[in-house]
Point group: C2
């Protein structure tokens, strides 16, 4: 790829609109280590920004704050409303297509990356979803435990209730519900390593952990409660209604479901191309419009909590844990490029939630509306 | 209109499915005083039920509980899924159309009905929207004051803030905000009587009350906060986006808007025909789907509170106040038919909210998402 000096001029100007100086002295300024950076970004867009970071072509002392400035300046909107620039970018990309297919290697499947990475990063609870900081937690472990407790209270759990935990990850919530509320929990995830982990950590508790997907999961049990935490992001917009219809069919007439999901501000059928390629293949952020369309006539929305800002802090904790544990990881498996990829992912998404460019919702659903009215818990 | 004995058989069977016996002894059973009732209902549907009530053709000792049973039995769904019955009803209605146009007199415009009716019914606050009972209020006045306070806290009001109160009714909230939070309030309503009332009750307060509609309202002021309480129900689905766009244009960059509205479970472009004819001509209940479609890309949803059950109790209070004050009202103006109409309206809608067939939402909106995250207030 040839470096076009015009590209450098344009990108520097765009960054300046966000208050970012190339090779400037502010901690959120970017240092460019390879002149090919400019053309890469203009030709590959968001994908090019991330991939050039992974290749060490640029850096920032405070990557999250660099992103905050980019998101707050709405650079994407500015590009879209600048016809001359759009034309320039389109031409760059057409030239790129003519140059043949690209050669970056796809990421491994996100959840196979290994417990030796996730363990230190996620902490004791192994919860890989947004924690809850609004009850004053001082540590990530406490904030994740507070999130479990928040979910249990919102679901109004009682001893002996049958609970389904869909897409349960390492089972932290299932274990919490069985241990602290005496519930009979069924949970599932398609990841075999996660199932093994849950079985090893739930001895003596009423937890049935199944190695399956939501499409394949079948049961004749009717559940009092369903928790769907960090699952909808992987379901895909065309399946939202099917997913909710299936969950509803498992629910008792007076049952309650809690849907915890990242949310997007603008309906789309795909995700940021870098995130889609390296972090969450097939992931899509649902919007209120998409979800409410899927819910209408099916379930009543009893509550809709936006707690997205909590994710910004959670992701920073994960990043700090990752950074601290990185020296002791196997660097053949987790090489420098992986480190930069993971840093870019955690700090970029932290900035996304800090600038309110993405949301985190907990939605309480029931078949007929909770009798006597639902009282929100915060 | 000829009475068809088949109609009586069908309607009695339908009511039985809701556990209601014609001329039975339970307080929620219905007493039929005119045999024409059955054919009227089957031919005119929801409109026929209400109009026959206004004419004294039937009654119930506990009309709200009669409605609760009808809503909980989902009679409407049952009728729609019964092909034979649907055909029978369609035929009845075609015959009805051939009988020529009907002669029921339309209601007066709802808000012109007169302060002598609304005063005793609504109580001291004159608030004609859902009250808030969840802080333990023992009286309607307290529950309405708690609602005002809830709105102010959700908006995070501070002394000196400029607040716009759209569709302000008798100005209870505007007065509360100016008096208790020291805000500079601009409010509007197209009802001249309401403007007079506000002016008489806001001496010495920073309240500018304008006699206008949301379409005609213009200002160069940028507001810190906007309260839209019980307004969206009158805006109409095709105007939701225009309404929100206009409100957004009045809002400061870090402003917050609170949208308080009745909500429907199923998207529609009209309302129950009886309610539409006698109570709220042109009213439509928005759904989450319709609202979120209008909001997407325009405003960020910071919170979505469903407090619908509170309306059931509020409407019962209004009914009891109305009933108590009725003897002292002018019976030439408020005749027996008006009494029955008003009773049917208040008790029917109370049952609607009690059975969760309608919702009451308070939605917090901002231009970019509240910086630092929005904390829900309940």
């Amino acid at each position: 790829m040839k470096n076009n000096p015009e590209d450098k001029k344009i990108l520097k100007k765009l960054l300046k609109e966000a208050g970012i100086t190339v090779d400037g002295s502010k901690p959120y300024d970017v240092a460019v280590h390879d002149e090919a950076f400019y053309s890469r970004v203009l030709r590959y867009g968001a994908l090019g920004v991330g991939e050039s970071y992974m290749e060490g072509m640029w850096s920032s002392k405070q990557l999250d704050n660099t992103f905050v400035r980019v998101f707050e300046a709405r650079l994407e909107d500015k590009i879209k409303s600048n016809a001359g620039l759009l034309f320039y970018l389109a031409r760059s990309r057409i030239m790129n297509l003519q140059m043949g297919k690209r050669a970056y290697k796809n990421a491994q499947s996100h959840y196979d990356i290994g417990n030796e990475l996730y363990g230190p990063m996620l902490g004791k609870t192994m919860a890989y979803t947004c924690a809850y900081w609004e009850w004053g937690a001082k540590t990530l472990d406490q904030a994740q435990t507070d999130k479990f407790e928040l979910v249990c209270r919102k679901l109004g759990l009682k001893r002996g209730m049958k609970v389904l935990d869909t897409g349960c990850g390492w089972g932290g919530l299932s274990i919490y519900m069985a241990k602290n509320y005496g519930c009979e929990v069924v949970c599932f995830t398609p990841a075999k390593e996660q199932i093994k982990f849950i079985k090893a950590n739930s001895k003596g508790l009423s937890i049935k952990a199944l190695d399956t997907t939501w499409q394949d999961f079948q049961t004749t049990t009717k559940f009092d409660r369903i928790a769907s935490i960090g699952m909808m992001e992987h379901v895909g917009p065309k399946n939202y209604r099917a997913y909710l219809t299936k969950m509803k069919s498992f629910l008792k007439e007076d049952g309650i479901m809690l849907l915890h999901t990242i949310g997007g501000n603008k309906s789309s059928l795909d995700i940021d191309p870098w995130i889609g390629k390296y972090i969450f293949p097939g992931g899509v952020l649902p919007t209120i419009k998409q979800l409410s369309t899927a819910m209408e006539g099916l379930m009543i929305v009893d509550d809709w909590h936006n707690m997205g800002f909590n994710y910004s802090k959670t992701l920073l904790c994960w990043y700090n844990n990752f950074k601290k544990s990185y020296p002791s990881l196997d660097h053949d498996k987790y090489d420098r490029r992986f480190y930069l990829m993971w840093e870019y992912y955690l700090l970029g998404t932290s900035a996304l939630f800090r600038t309110r460019s993405a949301q985190l919702w907990q939605v309480v659903l029931s078949k007929n509306g909770v009798a006597g009215g639902y009282r929100s818990i915060r």
